[in-house]
């Protein structure tokens, strides 16, 4: 049976209330898991757990959705969400490209091969984004905030990721070439400049679409101040202006690189969770080539608490839960129970997301955001292919009774 909350009557808007149960539960979860990571692994993993938590709060409070940003541009011809993403990529590459090439040992960028696997994977991922209702980070933070349909998306995301891992070696045998780090051709400053030109061209295209449809461009992505409340209340309960979220996400990715040695990624953890689940029911994952490669084999064998994407994902889930509790909006998206076709969209979308993420070497975070922050050509190919897939996904949404 559902529990009840007390609201004060007679007010135009409900007074801000913290959902104490959700906040307490999230804090206890963070303390328990953080303590376990501290006891059993190493302090740097606790730091990454905290970074994951803050990123989860920023994604929720900033309402930073890649999927909705792309859809708003296509359907409503509004580009603020898209421009916020471009700003994020620009700021982060300005910080991380020099970091990666500073000569410090042990730092590895998010660079990946360019070929059939990448194009097909990111294209499928783009369709999945619109049907599943989120990308990698979007799926996780909405699950953390209690969205039931997104739990279905996540389960099938994991299933699709495992299937993708089984098929990836075949896809890698198809035409493709080794990673292309832009720094090799243009140097550090040149690579940043080339990327800025690319981001600027996309921003110009986005502005053109918006101006053509509405006559002017809204600049929501440049807001520093919340429109409703003071700074403290906005910080605690949201909604954050885009600028805050951009700065926190950029700093979070840079910190992840500095602490963990590689940029932020999400979906590899889904592979590990799914493969571990299959091993529990008796499937020998080492019969599949992917799980014999060093990194996946190590991750599969050892605890999830030693796997950086897993630990950060746990933090992200609990961070989003905490933020939703502070905003008193936990599970709000599930007030209207989804109908059958919407659940079917979550199943199909989740499978495409997972399969596509594995073939495309990550999601919007691992392949696109961290890829551009590492000045890797594959991120740009991923961006273009996923956007085309997303256009198809948007067209398919009405059939699944999903609003556009």
């Amino acid at each position: 049976m559902a529990d009840s909350a007390v609201l004060q009557p007679g007010l135009q808007q409900p007074r801000w209330q913290v959902d104490r149960f959700i906040v307490s539960t999230a804090l206890v979860g963070l303390a328990l898991l953080g303590g376990l990571i501290w006891l059993e692994t190493a302090p740097f993993m606790v730091a990454l757990f905290v970074v994951g938590t803050v990123l989860g709060m920023a994604l929720y409070h900033g309402a930073f959705g890649f999927t909705a940003g792309w859809r708003n541009l296509v359907v409503k011809k509004r580009g603020a969400g898209m421009r916020a993403q471009l700003l994020l990529f620009g700021v982060t590459s300005l910080i991380m490209v020099p970091m990666l090439h500073s000569g410090q040992a042990g730092l590895v960028g998010a660079v990946a091969p360019v070929g059939s696997s990448l194009v097909v994977g990111s294209f499928l991922f783009g369709i999945g984004m619109q049907l599943g209702g989120g990308c990698g980070s979007g799926t996780l933070f909405t699950v953390g905030a209690g969205n039931i349909r997104m739990v279905v998306t996540l389960v099938f995301f994991i299933a699709g990721a495992v299937l993708g891992s089984i098929h990836l070696p075949w896809w890698l045998d198809q035409p493709g070439f080794d990673p292309v780090p832009l720094v090799s051709s243009f140097g550090i400053s040149g690579a940043i400049l080339v990327q800025f030109v690319g981001l600027g061209l996309i921003a110009w295209w986005v502005n053109r679409i918006e101006r053509k449809a509405h006559g002017s461009v809204e600049r929501d992505e440049l807001l520093w101040k919340s429109q409703g409340h003071g700074v403290f209340r906005t910080l605690i309960s949201g909604r954050w202006p885009f600028t805050w979220a951009i700065l926190i996400l950029a700093a979070g990715n840079a910190l992840t690189l500095a602490i963990g040695g590689a940029p932020w990624s999400i979906t590899f953890a889904f592979n590990v969770w799914g493969a571990k689940a299959l091993e529990v029911v008796g499937v020998n994952m080492s019969q599949f080539e992917f799980w014999t490669w060093d990194y996946p084999a190590m991750a599969l064998k050892d605890s999830v608490l030693t796997n950086i994407p897993s630990v950060m994902n746990f933090g992200l889930l609990l961070g989003a839960m905490l933020a939703a509790g502070l905003a008193n909006r936990f599970n709000e998206a599930s007030r209207n129970r989804p109908e059958g076709r919407q659940f079917l969209a979550a199943v199909v979308g989740g499978l495409l997301l997972g399969y596509g993420a594995r073939l495309g070497f990550g999601c919007n975070i691992g392949a696109l955001f961290s890829g551009i922050a590492s000045a890797s050509l594959h991120a740009w190919v991923w961006f273009a292919s996923a956007f085309v897939g997303s256009l198809i996904g948007i067209r398919l949404r009405p059939w699944f009774r999903l609003p556009n």
């Binding site: 559902a2 529990d3 009840s4 909350a5 007390v6 609201l7 004060q8 009557p9 539960t25 979860g29 328990l32 898991l33 376990l36 059993e40 692994t41 190493a42 042990g106 590895v108 998010a110 660079v111 990946a112 091969p113 070929g115 209690g146 891992s165 990836l168 890698l172 493709g176 070439f177 080794d178 990673p179 963990g260 040695g261 590689a262 990624s265 590899f268 592979n271 992917f290 490669w293 060093d294 990194y295 996946p296 190590m298 991750a299 064998k301 050892d302 605890s303 999830v304 608490l305 030693t306 796997n307 950086i308 746990f314 599970n331 709000e332 599930s334 007030r335 594995r358 070497f361 990550g362």
Partner: protein, 69 residues
């Protein structure tokens, strides 16, 4: 002062059960891991705390196309 109640769209019990299950799964996975064995005093196990494979071509550990020829 009159107060009205609204239904919360979730069940506290269900949330606690779900989080409990996730924590139990994490614990079960950890208790049978090399890292836990190492922490329990078993010296000859290799843990994977720093897992990044720097020789891999992609973040997931995939090899480069050129090495697959």
């Amino acid at each position: 002062m009159r107060e009205e109640t609204v239904e919360r769209p979730y069940s506290r019990t269900r949330i606690l059960v779900m989080l409990g299950i996730i924590l139990a799964l994490i614990m079960a996975d950890h208790l049978r891991s090399p890292t836990f064995a190492f922490n329990s005093g078993q010296g000859n196990v290799e843990t994977a705390l720093s897992q990044r494979d720097e020789t891999a071509c992609a973040p997931c550990g995939a090899p480069c196309p050129s090495t697959r020829d």
